[in-house]
């Protein structure tokens, strides 16, 4: 992931949903979408965290202007 974003751990990007965020990231850093998604869905191994909260809405999760979006490995339950 880091290699794709030019080594940067944080990048600023626009978008109103996680889908748009990923699309814009992919425009700037080609290959990003393939790493995170399959068939317009987040890969099951990937979790998206928006403003500290793990989302169960995946690509449809809305984000706001100041939102922090993180992509993390999905956790197995207990």
């Amino acid at each position: 992931m880091l290699s794709l974003a030019g080594g940067r751990e944080q990048v600023s990007v626009e978008g109103r949903t996680v889908r748009e965020v990923i699309a814009n990231l992919n425009r700037a850093h080609n290959g990003f979408r393939d790493r995170l998604c399959r068939d317009d869905k987040l890969k099951p191994t990937i979790a998206v965290v928006v403003d500290g909260e793990i989302s169960s809405l995946g690509m449809r999760q809305k984000v706001s202007l100041e939102s922090e979006v993180q992509f993390l490995p999905a956790m197995s339950g207990g």
Partner: protein, 769 residues
Amino acid sequence: MSNASKNGNGNGKYKVIGTRPIRHDGVDKVTGRAAYGIDTHLGGMLYGQILRSPHPYARIRGIDTSKAKALKGVRAVITAADLPPSEADEVLNLVEGSFRLKDLRSNILADEKVFYQGHSVAAVAATNLHIAEEALQLIEVDYEILPHVDDVVAAMRDDAPLLHEDLTTKEFGEDTGKNSNIASHIQFKLGDLEKGFAESDIIVEEEFETASVHQGYIESHNATAEWKTDGQLTVWTSTQGAFGVQKQTAAILGLPVSKVRVVPMEIGGGFGGKIPVYLAPQAAILSKKCGHPVKIVMTRADVFRSTGPTPSSYVKVKLGADNSGKLLAAQATIAFAAGAFPGSPVGAGAVCVLSCYAIPNGLVDGYDVVLNRPRSAAYRAPGSTQVNLAVETLMDEIAVKLGMDPIELRLLNAAEEGTRRVDGAVYPVVGCRETLEQTKVHEHYLAPLSGPHQGRGVATGFWMNAGLKSTVTANVNEDGTVNLMEGSTDIGGSRASIAMQFAEVLGLPAEAVNPMVGDTASVGYTELTGGSRVTFATGWAAYEAAQEVKKILIGKAALYWETTEDEVRFEEGDFVHSTDPEKRLTFKELAGHLVDLGGPVVGTGAVDPNSGVGGSFTTCIADVEVDPETGKIKILRFTMIQDAGTAIHPSYVEGQMQGGSVQGIGWALNEEYFYNEGRMQNASFLDYRIPTCLDVPMIETVIVEVPHPDHPFGVRGVGEASIAPPPAAIANAIYDAVGIRLHELPMRPDRVLAACLAKEEAEAATANG
């Protein structure tokens, strides 16, 4: 704090929540009437048994079942050939993770290879159990034995025997293309690690290993299946999640989920181990072949050898702090033995390892490693205990080196609202600091030790707790009671905690609510009982269902009084006419009028709440006595101080804390898979020794209640965190007692004794030299 709730008189804020009613399913369970999965009995039922591999790793050249099939009383024999073929990249997404379908099928009936001793190879159905057992001995399997690997570090080496030719290491969604037993590598990074260590005045670094341990539930795995001629399959089983069994069984058998109905029977313990499916598909295929229901109950030896233990682990941690004790940097490398197929909880371990503290600079690497042992499964706070031992032992080392009180050191660094965890998540309101503050003033922590070779240790632990989907449906009866159908299988008294949240909303006594666990055909979708989520999420669904019932009943009251809904208020459990205070109906009175007030009163709560990342923190205090002659550790006193959020039924909250504590004690001192040549040597409760009541003292508990900021009643979930810190607390107590540091679980007498002797020798050498 829960001072009032500890007395069972409610905590002042609520009427039902915080009290201790007798659980609704209690009488059935103390009289022997409750029907568990192993108690299932259907007319015409046949008995199934599973043939398992004696070898840790072998290629199956052929299986001859003809002699077994010829045995009188045998009705069917099946092998992997009876399963649908698998596509290489078919994946089944479950809440506990994503798994390749071919791996799930292989674990049910091995096709080309067996990957561990105990791997299921064939299954038999016969008219009784003894004939089925005899038939197993008549099945001839031609094995080509392969060189195996059963140690996590060895399995990671480039020259290790590879388990899966098509397995390549994945790094955060990227396929490295490298063939390896390392199924995945994950990494979390925060701040500037090098700078953090450079600025540190004190750096500690150690390697730790923990043995594989089993959940040790007392009821063996079981499944009874009936495949009817109309193509409908029904499965009765003990499971933590009926919908998960439905999904897994349907996928493994290649059926639509609508063809599979799963009836969750009472379940005799799970702790994560009853999430996977082990027997339902075999019972189903056998039933289809015989035209009878087939019941399979695993032997205890098979439970140990073939069902998911928690991974053994290698964990290396380095911590840096300044002279005040403030942590500046942390690095962790974690390798978990996933067993035969990928999917260990190393991701959770990587989150939990540094989760208790605010550390500005961190790096965590986690490796999921396959090897020739049974596929691992979740075990209470999966992944947290292994990593906790490392960090909490090193925290103790820092405290000793700086001459600090170990609780003060932890308070100085405690995670709190706004702390960014190494995985990037930022904590909302959490109770880490509160558990430490309660520990600091606890009578146990302040009491003097009373003899030689005694020591005291503390440790703090964390589990993240889950939210996930839950459904509850409430039906109001005309006598003022409510039937509550919920989808969460009840392992530890959760019927009561869900019913109580429902009752609280409507001002009912807990006894007026009759909670029942539904099957997959009778209740809305509900995820597994696990992740400390049931009281949180299913309780939330009960809250929503109660709100709907309330709304409907306000309408009924308005109809009864021939007024409008806005004229009706609900207060103190009564429905009241706003402008005519004479008109007041209790819930029961209003229910009694429902006959001619229109349609039924049914409320549903269907939720998918976000549990957030706050989870539950816990701190424990362990007093031990070391026998210097034998190395045996005796637990003298033990206290668990945990943030549960609001405690719904304090007795069962305490019960979770006590149960987790004793499982942690067992992990620390006794429990271990002994392997020799890839074969488990101690597959019985005699040789795999879980704690008995003679091994432990009373487990003291303090319920800390820092309410969850979003949950309607502030529930956090309490089921898991308590297992994480006991091994480290005991290790630190052993150091306090006799000055030795152990880096390997279990801390068996021979290891303790060897370390004591080594210390004596070293001291003698220093004195002489």
